[in-house]
Symmetry: C2
Subunit: 119 residues, 2 copies
């Protein structure tokens, strides 16, 4: 169920290379990765969980409303993160020339489905 949603998001986004459904503790529930030269996408996901945890902590402290979405652009990739519940988030990685808007849309579209399945 989770695997199918992740695959649909990655394959439905031009330039999509992987998606992971993960806890803020860095433990993945499910993931789907295409092979990607020179980058360990599994490690990318785990490292980003630290970042997301730090952002969530900051947002909670600052009382600026719940964290909803984070987008990170690096020289090679976009990473789009969407908060799902108090415990889980989904992260999508795509190539820099990929369709960022489509990826963001698919994450938003499937968020409710994932939240329902998680609870």
């Amino acid at each position: 169920m989770f695997a199918e949603i992740l695959r649909e998001i990655v394959d439905g986004t031009a330039g999509g290379v992987g998606a992971v459904l993960m806890g803020y503790d860095g433990i993945a529930i499910e993931q789907y990765f295409k092979p990607c030269d020179g980058v360990d996408l599994q490690m990318v996901a785990v490292e980003y969980s630290n970042v997301v945890k730090e952002i969530k902590r900051t947002v909670d402290i600052l009382n600026t409303g719940a964290m909803e979405e984070v987008a990170i652009k690096t020289g090679r990739f976009y990473v789009i993160i969407r908060a799902l519940t108090e415990e889980y988030f989904i992260a999508l990685t795509l190539q820099r020339d990929g369709n960022f808007g489509k990826g963001r849309y698919l994450l938003l579209r499937d968020a409710q489905k994932l939240v329902a399945a998680l609870s």
Copy 2:
């Protein structure tokens, strides 16, 4: 010089509430904030410097190309962060109903000017 650029970015973005030019060590070079109910924007900026430092560290480890831009959406605000040099970044905060695209464009447009002034 820095103050003027920050003010132009904030005032030029519908919903803009503040911008800060800051080091990854959390020390601001310059900042420009409009009054904003119930939120200490100065504190927002300092807290986000920890987040940005963590993201930069992660991106460096992962060898996925340099960090260029980070966008964070919370219940009340957008925060858009643009890396300038190895030491400095600029962060723009705007209301959720503000013009995200315009803010991002202005940060990108003025990045080279800021980099030149910093070096």
